[in-house]
Symmetry: none
Subunit: 224 residues, 4 copies
DNA sequence: CATGAATGAGATTTCATTCAT
DNA sequence: TATGAATGAAATCTCATTCAT
């Protein structure tokens, strides 16, 4: 069996990574991210990771303990990246509608640019978030995100621009959902609908649609 | 490794399934669905499926060829179920807004009631829809769904109830997205936000939110 | 490293052990006993056991779970053998001195005939009896042995043949010690003393010596 | 597997053993003794030894060649210690019975105080004394011990205190056996008999028992 | 149709030892 | 002298699949 694993040709071991621990570690992490997001945790092969990274298999164990430890490192690294990018948005300087639009588009673009983030979330949910629950580092990362959205909503409501009573977590889940599902399920969706959802113009159109849905929802004063 | 596979106690082999081909086949399919959706395709164990089904391992091969064949059967069976349920909705008899509300709530409820459907889509997307592409049966299933939505939109636009120019596929993806993402990612979302997204009252609230978002979007005449 | 492992040529797989589970299980157990007693638990190789047994390596895991499970089975099997042989001695029919002589000589002869028993005890003590503690089966095996000795001592004391106040456990340990140490340490002892302790006439002489030491101790009425 | 290896926390590397060859060597030897006696030769880990010793792994190879060389050094060092302690007993000044008692008690106490000596003998016997045979140094160490016992026996026989015809080697083996087996097998013995053989008062009682057995044997004039 | 013992290939992990710095 | 990253070989264990009955 195992007919559906994704294989990749060996990365020409750039300049033979001798005696540069930091670089070796990073190479392993990068390779593991690629292999795990392509094949899932149980589908990922330690051999393949080592080969991709151009290092001896033994090194994975040296740096990360075991396959699970490596996965956890990948997870933490990947989560930290998006949350740190979000924090850099500086939405507080924009007016509420522009701030929200920026957040929505950023989120959408991030999903497009980082398919490994999507895959990893998918994998981790198949694990019932078992690893995520172990990582304090990650769990503490999300207060700022919610706070950011709360401020936008309050300012929008105060200026009579947005409806009131919106739950920031519910809203964020919707913002993420509209982009995440489209990207993470693009293979089956493209197949059943017979359209190339991956095409650049299609992606741009989708981004506008998401902004439209979210802002329309926020701007209307009365519930439907 | 393999610390995160989900195991289940053996299902009391109901009256020893000897000499009832149809029942044996169904038992295998049910067991395979459970095992695969719990652990993914590469995480699923043939032994575990046989044990769950209470049949001899050899039977899997007899009825389904190999693990991949079994997976394909599970996929087809699961997809056919939702599409057939949708067709039974008879939306054409309702007014556009009620019809849309019914479709949205049906979809949401279906995701709640059929976690195996979500898991299977997730798994199949990790496979880049390789199996789905092979199954003509499934691909031909989706014309009616799109047609159904198209009719609702046209009737709503004609009656000045809905905005015009809405792409039915884009809309369906959004309807599905708002529920799918919430459910499929509930483990990580619950963890990072520290809330129990699975609680019944939370699920009901989410359903209303989704209806709200979709109908608000459709009813507004001008783009935001 | 690992220069001191004991290897053995493959046992001609007698009549190819096809489809005879009981025989396969027994063959594995026999091979495991040989390999583990020759090399210790950590020195024993699963591959070597499979080869000795003439079965596929996979079978060890099929029948015994893992290497530790196999070791536990070996331990239980080996312990049960000596205790059952002891019970068959029927010492109650002999007069106390003859009974004691018989027990001592039996114990000594058993150690000569079953070097695997000695090796296994040695191995298990290096494990701090971790496996033995887990096995209720074995722990419950030793009441009869102590009882048997107690009866002999009482009858001997009642007949003024043996001294009084002898602790049966302490005595049994001495009986075992005088033979066990000689056999289990024969390699180093032969080396440092430059004598072949393994020679048959030497073994017989040792048996008489042990009987002499134990019976002299028991028969004397006053403490030295 | 490897569920039974004994691990220990790192010994605070006392003031970083840089540039003190003698100290480094001694630290390695001490650590190796601990690791090997705890886990056997094949169970001992080079990494663990280095960590225990607080030195770089490369140093083991520098000083001792390889793991086997290190083991041999441990063996020689440990054997030399007991033989040198024995020589210091000065038994020739005591009357035969007191001399014998002193030797017996010394041997017993030495086993109590030096569990690493017992473990090492056990390990070396599992190796069939392969290393010991290579070490002339050790083999030449034992003449004096036998001589010492011979003198005691002769003096005792001459004074009509001891029986005649006692083989000093056979006797020494018995003296050692009565203590060695009790200590080396204390884990399994404590388990099967359900008593704490390791308790201080139990150890003292055992010492008296051994003296009793040996002296009773020697003092009786007629064979049993 | 049904069983479950058996297999071979390959997965993860371990370990003594060497090498560049 | 000292470091610890790096290695290759080999160890334990897993898994889809086949085969004798």
């Amino acid at each position: 069996m195992e007919g559906s694993r994704v294989k990749t040709t060996v990365k020409a071991r750039t300049a033979s990574l001798t005696r540069d621990p930091e670089r070796t570690r990073a190479a392993i992490l990068r390779a593991a991210t690629a292999e795990i997001t392509a094949n899932g945790l149980s589908g990922a092969r330690v051999d393949a990771i080592a080969e991709r990274a151009g290092v001896n298999k033994r090194m994975l164990y040296h740096y990360f303990g075991d396959k699970q430890g490596l996965y956890l490192a990948v997870l933490e690294h990947t989560y930290a990246a998006i949350r740190s990018a979000e924090t850099a948005l500086n939405l507080e300087k924009l007016d509420p509608a522009d701030g929200m639009r920026k957040l929505v588009l950023f989120t959408w673009q991030y999903f497009i640019d980082h398919p490994e983030f999507l895959s990893l979330l998918v994998t981790e949910n198949m694990n019932r978030a078992a690893y995520l629950k172990k990582s304090k580092q990650i769990r503490n990362l999300h207060g700022p995100l919610v706070g950011m959205i709360e401020v936008l909503l309050k300012r929008g409501a105060a200026g009579k621009l947005f409806r009131t009573g919106v739950d920031p977590i519910e809203l964020y889940i919707s913002i993420a959902a509209l982009g995440f599902f489209y990207m993470s399920n693009r293979h089956t969706l493209s197949t059943i609908f017979g359209e190339k959802l991956n095409a650049p113009e299609r992606l741009e159109k989708r981004g506008e649609h998401i902004v439209d849905v979210i802002l329309t929802y926020l701007k209307v004063s009365e519930k439907a």
